[in-house]
């Protein structure tokens, strides 16, 4: 696109779907005047695979691996979210050991995902060395994933009603060793960038969102907490073993890129704390509930007790009662590394879900990019995309 009219001063720059810094296939069309951005339009949908439509054709157990590929950097958390929603629907009680295992793996996933965020964010701003240090640490965790779940990235480890297979002592030992050294490693990253003048100049006061705007735009996760709003799904609506461990939720003050960066760096330490407590407290027992749907019986319908549904009807339509009993629905959310990942499932008492809706945090966060970028410089666009941490896999589903 060449702007032939010399009288206009605006240039249209396309940061295409293929770009080293947009972390996936995100397309931004920027209208630039000099260096200042006048208008920014994001285009998504390049990675749309139709997960919601596909799940309507697969049984509950079969659509669990589909959720892996939503936010492919934190696949365990996606699995746990989906499993939580279906467990809430059917009313399955997950055994204690499975809850602790899930918590451990979720926090490991959080550390892995935040390491990738740190690596790519620092690389975009120019500090190349942090990228390799962070990837070195991530290698340990990926090897531990492989030891237990068989896969490094898309684990498919959680099952509806528990987890797939048990963990052994070797895993807990290695994990314990890693967690003991991890806070020192985080300090290593911080010495490279935290008080570096160049870093501070690039991130302080840039990309500011106030608390009211953040709530208005529906942001969640570290992006919301960086603006000072205290909302964490693990504290508000606890699930798994989060009500049995102690941890803090870091908050920021100004809502700029630096505060979001500090929130995530502090979350590293809190995750390490949670994992340590879980390793000490983990009970023995079974890892899968009794009435969990099994893989080898895929066609058996999901049974929901009709007495659990209470309703009051205000119309004269008599068929509504059977309609309401036919379609129970549930919404469950987990605290993914990127924000609140929610699953809204409508069940029609058969073996396949009637409607699965994935409330992806990256989708909501990508909508706030125009507000962050307009009025700032082109170099800040890169820093902003890095700080809100979107993954196109879950943004497009």
């Amino acid at each position: 696109m060449k702007n032939n009219n010399l009288a206009e001063k605006e240039l249209i720059v396309n940061m295409g779907p293929q770009h080293p810094a947009t972390h996936g296939v995100l397309r931004l069309v920027l209208e630039v005047e000099g260096e200042i951005i006048k208008k920014c339009t994001p285009y998504i949908g390049y990675l749309h695979r139709g997960v919601e439509k596909l799940s309507e054709d697969l049984t509950y157990v079969q659509s669990l691996p589909l959720t892996d590929r939503l936010d492919y950097l934190s696949s365990m958390v996606n699995n746990v979210g989906f499993a939580l929603a279906v467990e809430k629907l059917v009313g399955i009680n997950v055994p204690e050991r499975a809850k602790f295992i899930r918590t451990i793996m979720s926090e490991m996933t959080r550390i892995c995902s935040h390491l990738v965020w740190l690596a790519t964010h620092a690389l975009d701003i120019g500090a190349m060395t942090v990228f390799l240090y962070a990837m070195r640490d991530r290698e340990y965790l990926l090897e531990l994933f492989e030891m237990i779940a068989g896969a490094r990235l898309t684990v498919s480890y959680s099952r509806i009603g528990g987890v797939r297979c048990d963990i052994n002592d070797e895993f807990l030992d290695k994990l314990g060793k890693f967690i003991n050294e991890f806070p020192d490693r985080v300090e290593e990253y911080e010495t490279l960038i935290d008080r570096n003048r160049v870093w501070l100049k690039r991130t302080k006061g840039v990309g500011v969102i106030s608390a009211e705007e953040a709530i208005n735009y529906g942001l969640t996760g570290p992006v919301l907490r960086g603006s000072g709003v205290y909302y964490d799904v693990r504290k508000f609506f606890p699930y798994d073993a989060y009500d049995q461990v102690e941890f803090e939720v870091p908050l920021g003050k100004n809502g700029d890129i630096y505060d979001r960066y500090r929130c995530r760096m502090l979350e590293f330490r809190q995750s390490a704390r949670i994992i340590k407590q879980c390793i000490e407290k983990i009970p023995s027992g079974s890892i899968l509930a009794e009435n969990a749907p099994r893989i080898r019986m895929p066609e058996s319908p999901l049974k929901i007790d009709k007495q659990d549904i209470n309703f009051e009807i205000y119309t004269e339509d008599k068929q509504i009662e059977s309609f309401i009993e036919k379609f129970p629905e549930v919404y469950a959310s987990v605290e993914a590394p990127r924000g609140e990942l929610g699953f809204y499932i409508v069940c029609d008492n058969s073996s396949k879900p009637f409607r699965v809706r994935v409330r992806a945090p990256s989708f909501v966060h990508a909508a706030v990019l125009p507000k962050l970028c307009e009025g700032s410089l082109i170099a800040d666009v890169i820093a902003n995309i890095g700080s809100i941490d979107i993954i196109l896999g879950e943004c497009d589903r």
Binding site: M1, F131, R202, A379
Partner: protein, 333 residues
Amino acid sequence: METLNLIFLSVIYTAIYFGILLLHIAYATYAERKIIGHIQLRLGPMVVGPHGLLQPIADVVKLIFKEDIVPSRADKFIFKVAPLISLTAALSSFAVIPVNQNWVISDIDVGLLYVLGIAGISVYGIVFAGWSSNSKYAFLGGLRSAAQMISYEVALGLSLVGVILMAESFNLTEIVNKQSEYWYGMFLLPQIIGYFVFIVAMLAETNRLPFDLPEAETELVAGYFVEYSGARFSLFYLAEYAAMFCMSALAAICFWGGWTVPPFLIKAFPFLEEVPGIVWFLLKLYFHIFLFLWIRGTLPRYRYDQLMAIGWKVLIPLALVNIVLTSILKYYL
């Protein structure tokens, strides 16, 4: 007969000088990958030759054999000429740089001024490349780079004025010889502010981190030479490293005493005088190249407006203060 002899010797001498120089430039790319690799806890090139020593040769061969793409709507003549301008400007500044007493191709009396002038011409190469590529990214990168280089040339020139005042000459050999007359032997100590300004301006002139926004990979995808491939790209690449060497050589000559050793060190360790001067010069040169690479592996990148603010609001006032202080010192001592 005399003139024929002279011309023959000059040609031989130039050929040797530039041969060794180009070898240095090629192996500087290898050193960069190795050193930055070790900073980042990895090994760098290891496959081609023992410990990857033949890597630059492999790179040159690959780049020459690549397809030469000229964008169809680019301005063809300027597109082809741009890398030549960059490389010629970068290499011609070596005509006046002495590596030892009388080891210089052309010992002119305005050597320093000549180097600064040639640095100004190399901006043309970048502007031509950005403009003729007919691509928005290249255009933006070319504009930014040109503005950055022009601003920091002022700071560069001003930081060298202190050295010129103390040495009372533009001739580079003279500057080195003057330094060995003082007991501290290098203009580094009295000119510390000037040295600091020179180092920062040196990083910005050569478009290296933390001032490499115009060619930042993650922001503008290689900036002004995004449309270049194959042999033309290798010319730009060589021009960048040649500029690095030129600036490092200037730093070694003007601030660190070239091929001489400070007299107080000779008094302490007399055997140091036996070491040939070229060794000292090369050590100082390599130290500055290492400084370039070390900073690249450590610091993040400045944003464009912050970069320009540093050049105009911080470095130029500091350089002017340095000039005033030096003149006062010169007057009273």
